[in-house]
């Protein structure tokens, strides 16, 4: 069986700027794939090539076994796509807009649209021009999913969604996977992707740094924590715990960088009287650095 997304040496130049540098990627059917990277790394460029909106400078990309350049329209018919900056027609209502796209696509069952809108708490009767950013994004999500596409490509889909709707949206993605579909979504925030993705690819400066399961990635992730103690922080004890990479302090608070699980650290620190724990999101840059360090060691 074909991979649902397959790229070989995918390269894109914008003038002298090398935006993508030889991306090799393979995504199987029924997978939710998270595409992570800082802004400007090449996520949107990859996605827009896969959607048939940009032509690769070198290499090739196939979606659902169809070449994204030569068989573009056939491929686009089976694709759901949410751009990073989704813009609908301001003068149309959500319903008019979605009916227009449904007509262009064909084969959309309207009750699917109504159900999805209800789930996302979207009022289809209002003009897109008067909707909040989050509600416009919901219109974009519905148009990407309403025709039960075999592959859904979403560029930073959770932008502007409140947490409750975000959870509903992730539920919709899980439904796509459960129905045998495949999801490709990009983000620059790890926590957004780790909740739903099976595998994650990390891109930086146009290069795919790593493709790994979310479990293993989380294990490697470096988390920053602030532990505030009742008394003076036991710095020496903390720095001796496996996985702790960095310890500094200010007053009664210890600032730590921890790789992998934090359970052992907390077990060691607890007897010293913890007043407060603040955990910071694992920083993508630090995950990258961890990978670069490893690559450097191997080289």
């Amino acid at each position: 069986m074909h991979p649902v997304v397959e790229t070989q040496g995918l390269t894109k130049r914008f003038g002298p700027h090398l935006a993508l540098d030889g991306i090799d990627l393979s995504i199987a059917a029924g997978e939710i794939f998270g595409y992570l990277g800082p802004n400007g790394a090449g996520k949107t460029t990859t996605i827009r090539i896969l959607a048939g909106l940009l032509q690769p400078s070198a290499g090739r990309a196939a979606v659902l076994g169809l070449d994204v350049v030569r068989q573009r329209d056939l491929m686009q018919a089976r694709l759901g796509y949410l751009p990073g900056n989704f813009v609908g027609y301001d003068d149309l209502s959500g319903e008019q807009y979605l009916r227009y796209l449904a007509n262009l696509r064909g084969g959309v069952e309207w009750h699917v649209v109504v159900t999805m809108a209800k789930r996302l708490d979207l009022d289809l009767g209002r003009r897109i021009g008067v909707l909040s950013h989050g509600n416009r994004q919901k219109v974009g999500i519905v148009q990407a999913l309403m025709h039960h596409p075999e592959l859904v490509i979403l560029d930073e889909p959770t932008t502007g969604l409140d947490p409750i709707i975000q959870r509903e949206f992730l539920g919709l993605l899980a439904d796509v996977r459960d129905a045998g579909g495949t999801v490709f979504l990009s983000s620059h925030i790890l926590s957004e992707v780790e909740a739903v993705a099976d595998r994650v690819g990390i891109i930086r400066d146009g290069r795919l740094v790593v493709v790994e399961s979310v479990e293993r990635l989380k294990h490697r992730a470096v988390r920053r924590m602030d532990l505030t103690f009742v008394g003076a922080p036991p710095l020496e004890v903390l720095s001796s715990v496996a996985g702790v990479r960095e310890v500094t302090s200010s007053g009664s608070t210890a600032h730590l960088a921890v790789e992998g699980s934090t359970a052992k650290l907390l077990a060691v620190a607890a007897p010293h009287g913890i007043e407060q724990i603040v955990t910071h999101e694992p920083d993508l840059e630090e995950i990258f650095l961890a990978y670069y360090e490893r690559t450097d060691r191997l080289a």
């Binding site: 949107t44 959607a51 909106l53 940009l54 686009q76 694709l79 813009v87 796209l101 974009g140």
Partner: protein
Amino acid sequence: MTAYVFTKTLRDQRRALIAWSIGVTALVVVEGALWPSVRDMPNLDEFLAGYPDALKEAFNLAAMTTGTGFLNAELYTLVLPILFLVFGISRGARLVAGEEESGTLEVVLVTPVSTTRLLLEKAAGLLTALCLLGAVAGVSTLIASALFSMGVSPAGAAVGALSMMLLGLEYGFLALAVGAMTGRRSLAVGVPSVAAVAAYVLYVGGLMVDSLSGWLAWSPFHQALSEGPIASGLPFRYAWMVLAAVVVVAVAAPVFARRDIRAT
């Protein structure tokens, strides 16, 4: 009204089309209302004889002693062509380049609809809008003629309106085509505007300067305006304007299909 790209394109024109129709009708009728007083000027012939030859030819002033000639000189050789050009170019530039710059094109393109079909349906939408505006110009000319006894024949009004419509079509399709090839609205407006000014300069220059007169036939303004445009017969020259409009869209289609769509 939004089943196809074509009907969506028409729907998007509806407000502009209504406003422009009112404007064109008002202009034609008001101009017609001036005719009785011009016709009754005692020494109109002598007055016109004093104009430079090139001006007489460019505006066909010699014929101004008839209602048809008056409308040709006062409306159909400058003001209406400019209006149809502005309508065609501004609407044409929006269709692809405008949608691309605003970001709405992105999702519409990721459907089974190909870039070529999108381009053709949008071209058909612009053609329809220009036909409607042309029909408004023709009908209002007949109304003005009837109100102020100008003696314009229905066939003459139809040919005049067709000529305006074709001018708008040629440059409107050029705007659509440049927009489809570049995705930039500024170019989609700029290129046809400069081309139209150049063609007009060539037209007027050809009438005044002998060495340019050989090139006159190439100017769409010559094709549209000479011997009329309100005239009795349908000139073969109009076919060149249709051909040019078709060619620019045909050239744009493969470029549009292969180029990168600009992200917003």
